[in-house]
């Protein structure tokens, strides 16, 4: 297959961009689901946050867990394109754009998720008018906005040559789509000057995204770590969250790789070797995360100070034990062992493992956010029973689902309207390979 001609590659990779009935059907389904879920949000707006399971003691729940999860997932763009790209990993070429789309979608929707948790969403502008430099929320809002912008640029800028190719090759597309390509391809002709400028822009972006991505999740972890509460009052929360984010992100890319490979018939471009590589990558990031988990639980667990011990017991052998051990074992330890074996790094087993890791990662955020609040320093007394534990309501689950639907919509649209696999890079790479073969 390596001998595929340039036009063959272009033909293959531009096949998917035309909107078809399947896409319309899928979007219709997503839109209807979204509207249904948004009626739940309308209910929350008119009745108050009381429609959720949150109360005075456990006042952060599913929304905040979900926000942390979304921010975590969005970090994958930085890991794949930047860290691996800058270190010269060639195998990532077909999945970089996918990773950027995921990063952009999760980061953009994370901003909305946090709004859904606000008691007074109409006062959002206060954060900009009265924003306090001392509050991690201001840092978070700033850094999420910046990261969304950089992710968007990292999605668009490397795509400029591909858009020119698409504009020139797919004259059959509807007017708006061609206009979009023309506009975003920035008069690309492939001159040396343009190539140099583009290369420069991409390199700067790839470097810039590293500190911003680290900041986005470190700041998110500080939302918890700056409080004096037992269980959140931890010095390793920053790296703990960042490494956890890589696990989540790799899992979401695995799922996306599998799905798009199937529906766009990309077997020639996303090959088994790619699954093998990303399987290994998942082992690596999981091992690092496991290391931080051991630190986070073993150290206080060894000493068992009064207040930490209550939360730790609820995780180890109390009310949250089943979820906790599921997350640790099915979401982390077992995947590591399985993925050491080559036969589990094939697409289908890897997909199943990826789904487990993905679910485990979501539940992990829940376990970070909720149990700590169930055990404040002073006893919870003289309040209704429902104040003493947290149980998400149907409304809350719907609103959380809405955020996932929104991510799916963004991912589906971007992956449909634009070429999902970098065309120019694929061509260049194969040319290089042929040349080196000839030598």
């Amino acid at each position: 297959m390596d001998e595929k001609t340039k036009s063959g590659i272009i033909h293959d990779l531009l096949k998917s961009v035309k909107l078809n009935n399947g896409f319309y059907l899928w979007m219709a389904f997503l839109s209807v689901s979204l509207v249904f879920c948004l009626t739940a949000y309308y209910q929350q707006l008119t009745t108050g946050l009381g429609v959720t399971g949150l109360r005075d003691y456990i006042s952060w729940g599913m929304y905040i867990s979900n926000f942390v999860f979304f921010v975590a997932s969005s970090l994958i763009g930085m890991l794949i394109s930047s860290v691996l790209g800058l270190t010269g990993q060639k195998w990532i070429t077909p999945i970089t754009r996918m990773a950027e789309i995921i990063a952009f979608a999760f980061a953009a929707v994370a901003g909305l998720v946090i709004v859904s948790d606000m008691g007074r969403p109409e006062r959002l502008l206060n954060v900009f008018i009265h924003g306090r430099f001392q509050s991690p929320i201001l840092w978070d809002v700033t850094v999420v906005t910046t990261y969304v912008m950089i992710s968007l640029l990292l999605f668009i800028v490397p795509m400029v040559p591909d858009l020119a190719i698409a504009y020139n090759n797919r004259t059959d597309l509807p007017k708006w789509q061609r206009l979009l390509y023309k506009l975003l391809s920035l008069n690309w002709v492939g001159s040396k000057e343009q190539k140099d400028l583009l290369h420069k822009a991409i390199r700067i972006l790839l470097i810039l995204v590293i500190p911003v991505a680290l900041a986005i999740h470190t700041v998110t972890s500080w939302l918890f770590a700056v409080t004096p509460r037992a269980g959140w009052n931890s010095t390793i929360f920053g790296p703990y969250f960042v490494t956890g984010a890589f696990v989540t992100g790799v899992a979401s890319v695995i799922i996306a790789m599998y799905v798009f490979r199937k529906i766009y018939h990309l077997q020639d471009y996303i090959k088994e070797i790619h699954f093998d590589k990303i399987g290994k990558l998942l082992v690596l990031v999981s091992l690092v995360y496991l290391y931080f988990n051991i630190n986070e639980f073993l150290v206080p667990g060894y000493k068992m100070p009064k207040h930490e011990s209550i939360t730790l017991h609820s995780l180890f052998n109390g009310g949250h034990a089943i979820m906790f051990w599921f997350v640790q074992l099915a979401g982390l330890v077992i995947p590591i062992f399985l993925l050491l074996l080559k036969k589990f790094r094939k697409p289908t087993p890897l997909l199943i493992i990826g789904i487990f890791v993905f679910i485990g990662a979501w539940l992990k955020r829940y376990l970070i956010v909720v149990p700590t609040q169930e055990h404040p320093f002073l006893p919870i007394q003289n309040v209704p029973q429902s104040y003493t534990f947290y149980q998400p309501t149907f409304t809350e689950i719907c609103i959380t689902l809405a955020s996932f639907i929104l991510v799916l919509i963004i991912v589906s649209v971007l992956a449909k309207v634009f070429p999902l696999i970098p065309i120019q890079e694929t061509i260049d790479e194969r040319n290089n390979k042929t040349e080196s073969h000839e030598e």
Binding site: R132, Q134, A201, I204, A215, N382
Partner: protein, 299 residues
């Protein structure tokens, strides 16, 4: 409240550690104590106020079965058993307390306790007050004037009290010294008696803050025969101790308002934002150059 209900039940179950039903014996010399005041509508009104604040939470409303569920149960002041107590017995029980009944010795003035007694006696139709013989020996009759000398440096305040009519010094007048604080008068020294020259020397604490200039509003009260006090001096004295002028909000801290954020934090935040967005705009500028270059080439 559920919890208070549980609590009450638990108190009822376990509250028996109080040596419960033994009769409450009042020493004979206290039994005969009589009120120094004549009970009147005024005292009954004051008594009702104090009763509602201090007593009603356990003893309930007299004549109504709303006493707190304690063991032993608090008595209903309207009950026969209760009203069989002599005034002196009631006074003793309220001041001293026993078991769950607290001692009000330090919480209420004796006059206030007599007001309460005068109020609860309204639930006894047959009650006729026996007024105590007023003891005038320690009291001072007629107008009094006083002169204040003070040297705060030596922690002394000297007062001379004389009869206004005949300018004679008063011997044995009981005086107390107070300083004005935000919500009340702070007693500064114990109650002292004047000597034969009518002179009393109070100790003044050398560490009591005044206002921002060190001024303190003090008053001196003299005890009347009936246990009440009259103010004979209310004045401002000058001391060395000035009130703290420290303003919490003068420091740049994490909890202060935005304009008082730590400088390093403001600089770091602004620096990081400017750097990141500066680069982003630089990238956009590069993109515009790519576009321009392309249009030149194609032309």
């Amino acid at each position: 409240m559920k919890s208070s209900f549980i609590l009450i039940v638990v108190i009822s179950l376990f509250g028996t550690f109080v040596k419960a039903q033994t009769p409450w014996v009042v020493p004979d010399d206290k039994k005969g104590l009589l009120a120094p005041i004549k009970f009147s509508d005024d005292t009954r009104k004051l008594g009702l106020e104090i009763y509602n604040k201090t007593c009603v939470s356990c003893h309930g409303h007299p004549g109504q079965p709303d006493q707190a569920k304690l063991v032993p149960p608090p008595a209903d002041p309207a009950s026969k058993v209760y009203q069989q107590n002599l005034d002196g017995e009631l006074f003793y029980k309220i001041t001293e307390g026993r078991g769950l009944m607290p001692s009000f010795k330090k919480m209420l003035k004796s006059e206030e306790i007599w007001n309460i007694i005068s109020y609860v006696r309204t639930f006894n139709k047959e009650y006729v007050q026996k007024v105590g013989a007023s003891d005038s020996s320690s009291g001072v009759k007629g107008k009094v004037t006083a002169k204040l000398n003070y040297t705060v440096k030596n922690n002394k305040i000297e007062v001379k009290v004389i009869q206004q009519i005949n300018k004679m010094p008063i011997n044995g007048a009981k005086l107390s010294l107070y300083a004005k604080r935000n919500f009340g008068w702070l007693p500064l020294d114990e109650i002292r008696s004047s000597n034969s020259l009518g002179i009393i020397t109070f100790n003044y604490p050398n560490d009591l803050p005044g206002d921002k200039d060190g001024n303190v509003n003090v008053k001196i009260n003299m005890a009347n025969a009936d246990g009440t006090e009259q103010t004979i001096i209310d004045t401002i004295i000058k001391t060395e101790v000035k009130r703290s002028q420290y303003n919490l909000l003068d420091n740049r801290t994490m909890w202060n308002v935005r304009s008082m954020a730590p400088i390093w934090l403001v600089l770091s935040y602004c620096g990081a934002v400017l750097a990141a967005w500066g680069v982003i705009f630089y990238i956009i500028w590069i993109l515009l150059r790519i576009r321009k270059s392309g249009s030149e080439t194609s032309n």
